[in-house]
Every structure is written in structure tokens, then in C-alpha cells.
């Protein structure tokens, strides 16, 4: 405000002096002879200065609009996180009370109805816990140490192979990580969380594909990030459903027969974003699905 006033002082002075001169009836003429070159140079410089000023104003306006948008996204995410935390907070006491009420009932074990209530209360309890975990993950501090995604993926793959074998099923799994000219660089992050994200992708690939179908796991380095892709030749997702796959509790109507809570990909997205990266998906019904994680490379050498 005060700087605006200071800038307006010359204009104000000019107007006042002009009025004084006009009132005094002394409206003389002031003629200056200037070489054309000087006029052109001064005019050019003035026009440039005005344009530069306008450009800076425009840039400032644009960046404040972009910041506004980013602030909007952040505010929305924060509101969403608070909602999840509140939901958890408001659900856990009632669920605790339901579970202890059923447990306090001496006939609980012999009543088929109470057994259903007990099982459903347990399921609700697990869901509350997972929502809480997701909400906490959005805000809790995470570890930043060098992590080798290739070895995490290999470990999770060997666990998946064992689980599939123990269920009497198998997938045709191939794994490709570079060794030349050098292996994947380490990313900066929390190994436990990254392992969970990778496990969710592998479990999804196995869940939504049949026995003998292909699962391919690939890793590569690109523009300062490690990309990790888990692709399957399974049933795929319809185009209109793809934008929803990251939403909490969202499940495709096509997936009704498959066990799950609808929190797996939400978790993958949160883990990727907390590491400064992102998750993306491509899919076609009947052809398969590919999910990619992009995680920035660690600046600390292993």
C-alpha cells in the first residue's frame, strides 16, 4: 500500500503543478529538440521495460494460480486424511463395544446368529485398522535410507511363488532387472513400506489372473528414478473403471468373487507419493494389467 503511494507521488505532483500553472493562466509551451536516435532508443527501452514488467506480472499471476491449484490439491488430500482418521476414531469404540458385548454373552459360541455377528464385527475391526493404517501413512514420518528395489522385489516374488505353490496353482513368472552397464541404483525410502507396495502389486497380478498365466516384473532406471513394473496377462480392468482403482474401498463389480478390501492400490499410491514418486496403471479387459511405480533414486550411495 505505502509503496503504491510512493509511486503515485510523481503523478500527483505533476497534476498539482499543472493545475497551479493553469489557474495562474500561464499555460506556456515547453519545446525540447532531441535527436531521433535518442527518441527511438528511449521509446524502445520504455516499451521493453513495460513488456518486462507485464511479463513478470503474468508469470507471478500464473505461478500463484498454479500454487493455488497445488494448495487446493494439498488441502483436499489433508481433508481426506482427516476424514479417514475421524472415521477410524468414531468407529473403533463402537466396534470394541460390539466385540466385547458378544464376548460377554455366555451363549455366544452356541448361537449361530451371534457367531455371524462376531465374525462380521471382527471383519469390521480389521477394516477399521487398515483405514487407520492408511490415514497414518499419509502423515507419519517415514524412513529415508538407501533401498534396493530389485532385491525387495525378488524376496516378495519368492514368497508369492511359495504361496501359489501351497495353494496348488502357479503363474508363469519372469523377472528382468538390469545388470549391465550397472544394476538398478538404490532409491531413498522405507524398505518395509516399499516391500508392502510391491507385494500388493504382485498379489493383485496373481489374484486377477488364472493358473499358468504370465506375470512379468521389470525394473529400469529413467530420468533420476527407478521404475518398477508388474504386468500380468490376466482379466484386465474396463477403461471407465481405471480412474477409480486408487480410491479407498473401491472394488470393481467384476471383482466381487475375489477376496479383498479395496485398499491395496490406495496403499500403493500413498507409498509411492510419500517417496516423492507416483504409481500409474494401464489395463485392457481380457488382455491384462500393468502397474508402474516410479521412485526417485537415492542421492546417498549405498
Amino acid at each position: 500500500m505505502s509503496t503504491l503511494l510512493v509511486r503515485l507521488v510523481p503523478a500527483g505532483l505533476g497534476v498539482v503543478l499543472g493545475l497551479v500553472v493553469a489557474v495562474a493562466g500561464q499555460n506556456g509551451t515547453f519545446v525540447v529538440r532531441t535527436p531521433l536516435v535518442t527518441v527511438l532508443v528511449v521509446a524502445g527501452v520504455l516499451v521493453s521495460a513495460v513488456l518486462l514488467g507485464l511479463g513478470a506480472l503474468l508469470r507471478r499471476w500464473r505461478s500463484s494460480r498454479a500454487e493455488g491449484r497445488a494448495d487446493g490439491v494439498r488441502a483436499e488430500r489433508e481433508a481426506h486424511r482427516r476424514f479417514l482418521a475421524r472415521l477410524d476414531h468414531e468407529l473403533k469404540n463402537p466396534v470394541t463395544a460390539i466385540r466385547s458385548a458378544i464376548a460377554a454373552e455366555p451363549a455366544a459360541d452356541s448361537s449361530p446368529h451371534l457367531r455371524v455377528a462376531a465374525a462380521q464385527a471382527e471383519r469390521l475391526g480389521a477394516l477399521v485398522g487398515e483405514l487407520r493404517g492408511l490415514a497414518a501413512l499419509e502423515s507419519r514420518p517415514i524412513e529415508r535410507v538407501p533401498v534396493d528395489l530389485a532385491s525387495l522385489a525378488s524376496e516378495e516374488l519368492s514368497v508369492l511363488r511359495d504361496e501359489l505353490a501351497s495353494r496348488g496353482t502357479h503363474r508363469d513368472i519372469t523377472v528382468t532387472f538390469p545388470t549391465a552397464p550397472w544394476p538398478l541404483p538404490a532409491v531413498a525410502g522405507d524398505a518395509d513400506l516399499l516391500a508392502v507396495a510391491i507385494r500388493n502389486l504382485l498379489v493383485n497380478a496373481a489374484k486377477y489372473s488364472g493358473t499358468g498365466e504370465r506375470i512379468e516384473v521389470r525394473g529400469w532406471e529413467e530420468d533420476g528414478s527407478v521404475l518398477l513394473e508388474v504386468a500380468d496377462s490376466g482379466r484386465g480392468i474396463r477403461a471407465e473403471e481405471l480412474p477409480h482403482v486408487w480410491d479407498e474401498l473401491w472394488r470393481s463389480p467384476d471383482a466381487r468373487g475375489v477376496e479383498g478390501t479395496g485398499l491395496g492400490l490406495s496403499l500403493v499410491r500413498v507409498v509411492a507419493e510419500r517417496h516423492g514418486g507416483e504409481a500409474s496403471i494401464r489395463s485392457e479387459p481380457g488382455r491384462g494389467t500393468s502397474v508402474r511405480l516410479r521412485i526417485p533414486v537415492s542421492h546417498n550411495r549405498m
Binding site: 466396534v95 477399521v128 485398522g129 516391500a195
Partner: protein, 239 residues
């Protein structure tokens, strides 16, 4: 336990729906139960008559569960306390342990789990002495743990541990000789069993062994109990 009578539990929670159902459940399991609706009521109930163990919610009006634990410990009262914690971040849970709670259980919990925690805590605290979990410093051989400064030293030299590895060592060392399942240790580390596989615990134990130079074949501190979990096998003392 008191006078050879039934184990007495003081259940502290402001949710009547919980106390009115959990109290009869605990009574069915052989405990004598009194109920208080917040920390102030709990202190009044304890002044009137002591109990064997306190099971308390954390968030309550007037006086919360943490303050209740602090008040008890300030007066050198070592009555064991299990917090039914509502906080969901592991460091806060560990902080709850730091303040002298003996164990914690996140809501909503499986009621039989509460009964087994009560029994485990009572076994651990049977001596009635100041519990390890109420100490700022612990030591086992040449390993020393500064619990408030969150630093570990071996033979006087500082060792570099990640926060989660420290939290795990802290928990194991303040509960020596007890068998902890991977699932329980995972809840200690993460505050929730959420999706993180129990291999996360194995990785942290491997980190601890590497940094502390503890040989899993003949451990001085952390012992693997095959098929079950881990146990802190060193003798732990506090100044």
C-alpha cells in the same frame, strides 16, 4: 495377587458401552472388576483400595490414560497398567511405554487378547519392583540403552540405529526373557498390523544383530525362537 483372592482389575474408560460389556467378560474369565470413568475417578478408586492391574483407555475427559500412568509412577506406585491406546503411530505407542505403561492394546481388540495380555503382564510384574519399562536407562552386559535420549552404546561407543531398530531394541530389552511373536513385534514397530509383512521384523532384527555384532548362532542379546519369534536373552538391569 491380593490375599489369594481373584485378580482384581480396575477398568478405566469413559465409554459406558465398553465398560458395561468388557467388565462382565473379564469377570467371566475369573477377574474381579471395578470400573472408573476417567483418570481422576481411577486415582480415587485406587486410593480407596489397590488393585492388581489397571486397564485404561487413553483419550478420556478430565484426566487421560497417559496422565494417569504418570501420576501413578510419580508416587512410586508400580501397579501394572495396560493402555487401550487410541494413538496409532508407533512412536507414540513407544512413548506410552516410555512413560511407564506395561503394555498396550489398540482398539478395537479381540477380547481374549486382552485377557492374555493381562496374564502376561502380571507374570512379568509379579515381583512388585520398579518395572524395567519405567526406567530411563537399561543395560545388559556392555550394551547400554538411553531410552529418553533414544541412543544405544556398546562398551561406551555410540551405535548407529534407525529409529525403528531402536524402538524394537527398546521393546525387547524392557521385556527380557519373554517370547514375542513376530505379529506382536510388528504391532510394536508399526503400531498396527497393517499389511506390513512380519518379514519387516526379521529385517530389523538382522539390522540390530549386524550393528550390535550379535551372533544369531550364540546370541548374547537377541535369540530366535524357531517357528515362534524372538526373545531378549541377556540379563537386563537398571540403575
Amino acid at each position: 495377587m491380593s490375599d489369594g483372592a481373584r485378580t482384581s482389575v480396575l477398568l478405566v474408560d469413559d465409554e459406558e458401552a465398553i465398560t458395561s460389556t468388557l467388565a462382565p467378560y473379564l469377570e467371566r474369565n475369573g477377574f474381579e472388576v471395578r470400573v472408573a470413568e476417567d483418570g481422576i475417578a481411577a486415582l480415587a478408586a485406587l486410593a480407596e483400595r489397590s488393585c492388581d492391574i489397571v486397564v485404561s483407555d487413553v483419550l478420556m475427559p478430565r484426566m487421560d490414560g497417559r496422565e494417569l500412568v504418570r501420576q501413578l509412577r510419580r508416587t512410586e506406585s508400580w501397579t501394572p497398567v495396560i493402555l487401550l491406546t487410541k494413538v496409532d503411530e508407533s512412536f507414540e505407542r513407544v512413548a506410552a511405554l516410555d512413560e511407564g505403561a506395561d503394555d498396550y492394546l489398540g482398539k478395537p481388540f479381540d477380547p481374549p487378547e486382552l485377557v492374555s495380555r493381562i496374564r502376561a503382564v502380571l507374570r512379568r510384574t509379579a515381583s512388585g519392583r520398579r518395572p524395567l519399562s519405567a526406567s530411563d536407562r537399561l543395560s545388559s552386559g556392555d550394551l547400554q540403552l538411553d531410552r529418553t535420549g533414544r541412543r544405544a552404546r556398546i562398551a561406551g561407543g555410540a551405535v548407529d540405529l534407525t529409529p525403528k531398530a531402536f524402538a524394537l531394541l527398546d521393546y525387547l530389552m524392557s521385556h527380557p526373557g519373554e517370547l514375542h511373536t513376530r505379529e506382536h513385534l510388528l504391532a510394536v514397530l508399526w503400531g498396527f498390523e497393517f499389511a506390513v509383512t512380519t518379514r519387516a521384523v526379521d529385517h530389523r532384527v538382522a539390522e540390530l544383530r549386524r550393528v550390535l555384532g550379535d551372533d544369531p548362532g550364540s546370541p548374547r542379546w537377541i535369540e530366535t525362537v524357531a517357528g515362534h519369534g524372538y526373545r531378549f536373552c541377556g540379563e537386563v538391569s537398571h540403575p
